[in-house]
Symmetry: C2
Subunit: 450 residues, 2 copies
């Protein structure tokens, strides 16, 4: 449940057409910022600029930050230079960094030129950090105080600087050279004796990130320590900014979506699936599909090698999809469980051993269960000998498929690749090759077809 | 980078054996809470209880909350009743609810009996909410003020109640009947004129949840509005608690892990993969594996129906894995993209149309690309006629597989099921059936084998 405006899109469009500006302003004033962003996204470009210009400045910059990057870019291209300068100057530094990251280089250059010298220096500095680093996520807007100040002086400083800072719930203590010393919750100051020195509140219990850390470290730190903001230092220990939980939550969502896509052999998309165009989708899906066609040729070749066996007992082909699919399914399960556990940091180096031996036992049990299920069918369809081949094959291919699914991500991680590359399609294609080989060689051997 | 204690596990174990309690206490005092939890998890049960008892009470309850539920349960079973009572009483209400949720009913009952009457009433109330509801996540520890108070009175109240509340960065305004009116950031009070009435600060811009809402709504609200805590009301609009971002982040992680597992046809696990035992893994993986064996029988039956065709042109079998795998791979891609987009709330009802038509175009292009890739191989291996059959089949099965992958999650969502049930293994098994039918019927028709 949220506060919903009593008007809607059509009302707004009606007021726009009728040019009833004052009324429209009053209506818009009731809308929460994210709903205003949705409204802007739903309007056509002409209407959008009109509405944006009607918003009071204090609101328009927050609303702008809620738009996605394509929408931001579209809107900026319709505003004149002065308006653009204003929007950019009002944006929080971390939102500004993210916008610039997404735009083509020339556009970014043009926009940078519209910034005032202070903002320009800051923007350049933030963009100077490596992609996907903590530095790119941080905002330099935080509140810092000295340890020798009293609590009363600190509160006064907080009062005077409060509206500039992205968060004032966490106050950072630095020395005269801005070197980071400690992080303190605002509540400590409210609850403390105003004449105490800040130093008395310090407890040296803090978590701090490096601006050059990968952003996933920041996400994991937030997960672990439950802090709504984390301080960021450079290589000299100077406090250069903070990252807030909302940005880290967005990063976690992005990284998770990437993992989902990789798990299905799709190269990560730039934006949301609904908004991705045909060209990008083809470009991001076809590489693995073609690569796997190549892998699947080996399954075909394996089958070709056993053409005589197939010709002799055509009934064997009936069970082929069932067997190799089961191998791939069990392998997909194992791979997904392993990749997700690795991504959540649940697997330490010493767990590999346990994981693998556990998987061997589990897949043995799964294989036996499934062999029992198909043995009966095979018996009635093709006789006892084929039934034996099928049951034996099922047990083996489930174990082999599961083992591939568990081992491949671990190996990828060990050699420095993303374990999520061990996608379902890759595992199933590999399981197909081994499945075919196992099935037909067992059949050839046990049915005396050699 | 975090503050790491200068001692380690072995040092601690050494001090334990030597019974150097005072020294050990001093050492432990330097450790941050999550690291203490890790330490406890790494010790054996006897050592663990000893260390836990050495911790000052103010720290031991926070550390306890960092343990996972199995570890919490193990520790509790070793403490005596008085110690257990103390641990439970000190736990935050939301952490307590989560612990009780995970324990067997009898154990929960026994633990509830150790609570004081206040805590018992509260625990019962929280557990009274439906599973996976917002009510189960919330804590009743928040700070509420009246609109007619002055800012100074409010700050005084905050000072006196501050240490009890889970968060004081957000202050909630209620009327005399505890009916929710507004949510205000603490910073507003710091920055405001102390003689103003609270009412003057109110802006009626808030987001509120119902205790009966599904917890996913809470997660999405946090994503959207970037708030570190959200107020929760009951059906009468009475403020009953708050949910904080750290708990919602954990919920998001859990729900995501569930989606990953479902996407691979694994029923969601109770805890982490590394700690899940063989029995539970088999139990959670075998149902879908068996169900899919059943589905795959249809592929087998389809092949059996074309035994004559296969016998006539055995070379056709060479391409079978390649074709049906490609269909399944394209389908897995489509399904994963669709399911993830649905989970992130990116797909509105009116997008379905666009999604489906886009997928048709994309899969046509993918199919043509892959048909071109295999046509040459088929030509050299089996002649122009088989090459034509293979190329035509490839184009068709990629389109059919992708369509199944896109449509199935949407249909599942429409009829009220979890779209994530459209797992990779399910999609590939369905794609196999259609792939076999298309391939062999095309071959029979075009090669005149009917």
């Amino acid at each position: 449940m949220t506060t919903f405006p009593s008007t809607n899109l059509h009302d707004v469009q009606h007021l726009l057409k009728a040019q009833r500006w004052a009324e429209l302003r009053a209506v818009l004033a009731q809308w929460p910022d994210p709903e205003l962003a949705d409204l802007l996204a739903a309007l056509n470009p002409v209407e959008r600029v009109l509405v944006f210009r009607l918003l009071p400045r204090s609101i328009s910059n927050t609303v702008f930050a809620y738009l996605n990057h394509d929408e931001q870019y579209e809107l900026l291209s319709q505003l004149n230079n002065d308006e653009t300068r204003q929007v950019l100057a009002d944006l929080n530094p971390d939102d500004r960094t993210q916008l610039f990251e997404e735009l083509p280089g020339q556009v970014t250059q043009k926009l940078l030129n519209l910034l005032g010298p202070e903002d320009l220096r800051e923007a350049r500095q933030l963009l100077g950090y490596p992609e996907e680093s903590v530095g790119r996520l941080m905002t330099p807007d935080y509140i810092a105080i000295r340890p020798d100040w009293t609590v009363a002086q600190a509160l006064e400083h907080i009062r005077s600087r409060g509206s500039d800072s992205e968060t004032i719930n966490l106050i950072y203590v630095t020395d005269a050279n801005w070197r980071f010393l400690d992080a303190l919750e605002l509540r400590r100051f409210i609850l403390a004796d105003p004449q105490q020195p800040v130093e008395a509140l310090m407890d040296n219990a803090y978590v701090v990130l490096s601006a050059f850390d990968d952003r996933e470290r920041a996400v994991n730190a937030m997960r672990r320590y439950d802090l709504p903001a984390l301080p960021v230092v450079d290589s000299d220990g100077i406090l250069v900014g903070i990252v807030t939980f909302d940005d880290l939550f967005d990063v976690a969502d992005e990284e998770t979506t990437e993992d989902f896509h990789k798990g299905a052999a799709v190269a990560p998309l730039r934006g949301s699936y609904v908004e991705t165009g045909v060209a990008e989708l083809v470009r991001k899906r076809v590489p693995w599909l073609l690569a796997l066609v190549f892998v699947n040729i080996f399954s075909g070749a394996a089958i070709a090698a056993y053409e005589d066996t197939i010709a002799a007992v055509v009934a064997l082909v009936f069970f082929l999809p069932l067997l190799i699919d089961s191998s791939g399914n069990a392998g997909s399960q194992a791979a997904t469980l392993t990749v997700r556990a690795l991504a959540m940091g649940e697997v330490r180096a010493r767990d590999w051993h346990r994981l693998l031996s556990k998987e061997l036992i589990v897949s043995l049990l799964l294989g036996l269960a499934m062999a029992a299920a198909v043995a009966l069918l095979a018996f009635f369809r093709a006789g006892p000998e084929v039934a034996m081949v099928v049951a034996l094959t099922m047990s083996l291919v489930v174990i082999v498929g599961s083992s591939i699914g568990t081992i491949l991500p671990l190996i990828l991680q060990r050699i420095g690749f993303d374990p999520a590359t061990a996608s379902g399609p890759l595992i199933t294609s590999l399981a197909d090759i081994t499945g075919v080989l196992i099935y037909f060689s067992l059949a050839t051997w046990l049915l005396g077809l050699g």
